[in-house]
Every structure is written in structure tokens, then in C-alpha cells.
Amino acid sequence: MIPIIKKRSVYVLRRTSLVLLILSAVAFPFEFRRVYESSPVEPTQQYLDELSRIRNIFGYGNQSIVIFVRAEQLALNSRLTEWARAITGIPVYLGSSPYYYLANKIETQLLDDPTYIGQTNQLHVSGIIDKPIVISELLANPSPLDILDAAPISSGLYLLALSHDSAVQRLNLIDQISSGAPLQVMNSSILVENLNVSSWSLYLGTGGFNNATVSSSNGFVSVEVSQGPYFVRLFHVFTPPISLSSFVMALVRVYSNISKQVFLQLSSQDNPLIQGGTTAQFADFQFVLKNGWQYLVLPMNAPAVGSNEFSVSSVYQIIFRLDRDNVIDHVVLAGVYGIA
């Protein structure tokens, strides 16, 4: 009797296992789809449309140009470089600046990125060097300097063709700007003009009364900031007003010993109620200072916020506002430059 029961139990166990196994095989794929499905890795339709536009303008597989894709998180997360190459068939340079490609220089900070290594190596092995580079505002988020010599092709699209030597000079300037080192005098291809802003005045009007200490020495203006409720506000008046229209950007060289929010304002109102105070004709730029020497870049064609009355051809004063957010700070202003 017992062997029969045992045999029966084994039979039932086998059948139950078989049924469960088969049912699990049916149920799992459907559940899997919902719970585990990975998301696509691709840029938004806006980027795909832009790539199609580039392909239509330059032709699929055009090997006489290179597309520049800026190496930033968005591009890396969505494999924008690979998509650019897939849709257009045009070689792609992934980097921090198109001048690295044109100057034929390695970007050492990107050596950990396999896409950078793969793409760049492919360009060199295939002999695709010294080609004009396509800069799209969407794909490259270009700085004013990136498109300084570029020829506009279409809305938001430029073609930059530059000799190797000129690219090296541009790259030197970019390196200096990146490092915060004093700007060297450039040759005729890049004009670096010192705007002689060595004296800054402390604004003491409403909202500006503060505990900051300002001192000047050898053209450097040091500001010691203590904690307080308002921004420290410094200003410089250009007498007579100056024109910045010939510059692609203005640079303010700054040292800070801590990360801190800062605002810069250009004003073309030549009769403000109080100098350094409220102005109706302005362009605002916002930055976050980091520790050490650095340049604050003011692109002349793209202020963050501005009034319609502001005119870049008649700048009356530059205003510097420094946050006093519970942190004692030491900031040095070391000159303002125009880049043309």
C-alpha cells in the first residue's frame, strides 16, 4: 500500500512540477516586459531632426567634413555621437572644443571615455584630419569663441575651417581661459584687448550697505566679504562709454577662495540715478565662482537676461554683485578683456 501511495505522490509531484514550469514559462515573458524593460538610449526627436537636417545639407557619408559633438553628459547618456554618425554617415569628433580637432591635439581629460578614444582614433587611422568642422548649436552648444571664424550655413549651423596654426593659437587662448592664467597678447588673428578696468567702486546705496572691505594694488582689486543680508555691489564707470560691438566676448578675470554665486551686469544707461545702482538698460550674466583663478565669460550676443534698450555699442558701466550667503569670502578682480 505504502509503495503505491509513494508512487502516486511522485507522479503527482512530477505532474505538478511540469504544469508549474510550463505556466511560469508563459507568464514570465509578459511580466518581464513590464518590470524589466530597459529604456531606449537615444536623443530626443529634436536631435534626430537636426541630424537629418545636417545630412540633407551636407550629404550622407560626406567624408570631407566632420561633425562636432560636445562631450557633455547629455551627449554621453544618449550616445549622441554614435547617433550622429549613424544618421549622417559623416565622421564625428567628440570633444570639449572643435579647436582640439583642428589643432590635431589630444584631449587628455577625455582619455577615460571609450567613445572619445574610438572616434578620435578612427578619424586619424582613416586620415580624416584637418577637415572643416560642422558646428550645430544643438549638438555642440558652442561658445562665442567656437564660432568666431565659422561661416553660417543655416539657422544655428556653422562650418568652421581653420588652418592648423590658427587652431593652435585659438586653443592656446582657450587653455588660458580654462586655466584662469593671465591672457597673453595675441597676434593679429585673435585680438585680446585689456579694457583697463582696474578701479572698482563700492556701491553704498539701498541694499548695498555692507561689511565688505575693498583694497586695490597693482591693478588687482581685493574684496573681503563677511556674512550679511545683501549682495556686495561693485561697479566701474566707463568714461566715455565704450563700444563692445567689435568683441565676441568680454572676459572678467577673477580669483575666489570659495564657490559662490556672482552676477555681472553691463549697463548702457549713461544717466543712472545712482552709479552702480538700478539701471534700465542692462544685460545680466550669472555665474558660480569656483575656487582659484578663472574667467567669467560674457558673450556679447547672448546675455542671460537683458532689457531691449541695452546697446552693446555704448556700455557705460559694469556692475559686479557678489553673494554674501553665510560664507566669508575673498575675491580678487584682476582685469576685464575684450576678445575679437
Binding site: L18, A25, A27, F28, F32, S38, S39, G61, G89, I117
Partner: protein
Amino acid sequence: MLGHHRTLTVVLAIVFAGLVTIYAMGYHSSIFYDIFTFIYPQSQWALIAFYGIILSSLIASVTFLIRYREASGDTRTFAISVPIREPSNFMLGALGTALVVLFAIPFLQARQAINVPGGDSVQYIFELNQFLHSGPIWILLNDSRPFVDLSLAMIYTAFTPLFGYSQWSYVVSTSALQITSTALMVGSSMLFLRRNGFGPFTIFAALLLTLSSTEILQMTGDNYAAYLALSMFYFSVLFLDKVLGQPRTNLLQPLLFALSMSLIALSHTQLFAVFCTVSVAIGTLATIRSGGWQKVLRSGIAMKLSILQLAFLGPFIYLALFNTHYFGVFSPFLGDTREKYFSIFPSVINAPYPPQEFDRTALLSLIEQYGNIFQYGALIAAFLIVTLNFKRGRYKNSELYALGWSTVIILGAAITYVYAAILGGGAFPGFLYARRLIFLLPLPFLYATLIESLRK
């Protein structure tokens, strides 16, 4: 007993159809996910147990194979048990179509909501566009996976008139490629299992379990090359079985085997290496079983296959070895790869090897995605039954093949696992490889043995 089988089949078919309808209509469950999250914190120990049991089972099976032959002095091929009712081609076609359609439903459900799946698809789209603009010769000389890309391009060309130039054409083409790979694997496995005397229910259930397991491979959406190569290997095994079964056969079967293996090499080089090793292992076991090397050596099977293989792949091997501007098949592995891939980066030491680095991303997603714990259990049971059959000396060709095939895969997985756990210091993604290698096991053969045993 036959009546019981029929009742079971009918009951299962009804429940099965009901489940498919319910899920296809959009019902969601999270049974497997809940189990998986419970098990996952202990997954390393679970994997050690999994590999430990299977490895022991494989060693025991090989021992039984050798001992049984020595004890009996038998040098003949074991007779394959004759099936009671061999399924017709029509029946296999119907069952295969049902399986492919069944697994296409969840696949297409996901594709409706998501555009081109995964991150690797973009590379396939690049190659596809290159094919359309530069032609097949460009693909053969510049693409490390030309067969899969040519297949995708053909499918895309067929679908483009329907969908025009849009993302949908990519979605439909890549989906069609995956479903075609599934159909290839189902078809060739069914033919092999029929040759080994399995009945329609066992074949259907074994393939159902297999697709449920490999679904992960195709569901991650962008493992086109790996999945096609895996499917092609089932096709190759069918020819290998014929070659080994009749050593003095004409040139057609070796030619078909070499051709299908070459297509694997043109789809996925790493898997080609794995499957070459598997073929050698299967051939070795078949030789042991059939009574010595002399017979096989005399027939010159290995040499015949090697020469044919070299004839197909020779040009690619030559280019990879001697042309530093060649970025096609074998180029990441043969020749001066550093010169090819890092020629302008002499300062980069121990740089990530491009294909492996690329693969790691896919593996990272896989580790989160394998959740059907029942199938781990089923695999363990299948290996134990195979061992039992070897002990009894009553095994089928499919089990002999499963033994050779699994030994290579499990040893590879165990080595990577141990390396990751002990020597890799966590830097080497061996745990991921170990899990992924499960998909490379001969699942239809193992599941068929299990199902047959449960039906007794």
C-alpha cells in the same frame, strides 16, 4: 498511461491559452519580480550552488560515459530510442509558428511603447545605413559583424516601402530580425529533437521553456548579433550531428556545417570562438562514445571541417592579421590591435578594449533582468537527470551533445566567476558573464530531457 498524457495536454493547452489571452489583454503581475528581489541579495551564493551542482553533475556524467564504455567494451553508437509518434513536418511547423507568435506578443507590446530599443541599436543603424549607401562590399570589409548587419539591411529594405524613412522602420526591422532569429532557433532545435526521438509535446514544452529563458536575450532588445549567432549554432549542430553520425558522408553536410559556423563568425566573433570550442567538445565526446579516435581520425572529419572553415574565413583572417586599416571581422582580436584601436594614444595604458567595454554595458543591464528563478531550478534538475541517464547508460544523442556543450559553457562561467570573486577584486565583471553564459547552454536539449522525465 497514454490517456493521462492526452488529458494533461488538453488541460495544459486550455490553461495555457487562457494565460496568453489574459496577458495579451494587458494583465500585469509581479510574481517573478517579488521572488527575484527576495533571492537577489543572496544571488552570489545561489550562483555558487547552481554552478557547484551542475559542475559536479557534468563531471559525474563524463565519468559514467567513460566507465560505461570501458566496462562494456562497446564501440558502437548507441541506438536512439525510437519515438512512439514522430511528429510530422506539418505538426512541427504549426507548433513552431505557435511558439514564435506567442513570444512575439510581449516583444511587440514593448516595441509599441518604446522606439528603437537599447543603446547598441545605434551601431546597427549605422551599419544598415552604410549598407544602403555604400553596398555590401563596404559592409564585408568594414563591419566586424557583417552577416547580422546584412540581414538587418535586407529586412529594412523590405519594410521601408511600408513605413517610409522613420524610426518605425528601424523598430519594425530590428523586431523582425529578432523574431527571425527566434524562428531559426525553434526550427533547427525542433528538427534536432525529432532526430533524437522526442515527441511533439516534449518538443513544444522544451522550446517553450527555452524561449522563456532566452527571451531575456532578445528582450533587452539590442543583442541582435548574439541572438542570431546563438540561433545559427542550433542550425550548425543539426549538421554536426549528421556529420558525426555518418563520418563517411559526402561533402554536403560538412560544407553546410562550415558555412553556418562561418556565418556565426560573421555575426559575433566571441561566440564563434565559444561555439568552435563546443563543437570540439561534442566531437570529442562522440569519439569517446563511439570507441576511440582512430575511426574518427581515419575519416578526417576534423581536417575536412577545418579546411572548409578556413576557406570561408581565410580572407577575413588575413586582413585582420596584416592590414592595420581593416576594421572588419576578427579585427578586434587578431593582428596588431593596439595599432588599430589606439594608434594615436600611445600614452593610454591598459585602455579599455573596445568590444569588451561595449559589451559590459549590455551585461550591466542583464544582471538586473534575469528573474525567473524556476528556470534555474529546472536547469539543475535537467542536469541531474542527464547524469542519471548516463549512469544507467541510457542516454540520447541530445544528452551527449548537451554534456559536451554544457561542459564548455559551465567551465567558462565557473572560471570567470571564480576569477571575479577571488582574483578580480570586484573590478572584473565576471559575475555578469557567469549569468549571461547561462543563455548559451543547450537549453532545448536539457529541457527536453527534463520534460520527458517529468512525463513518465
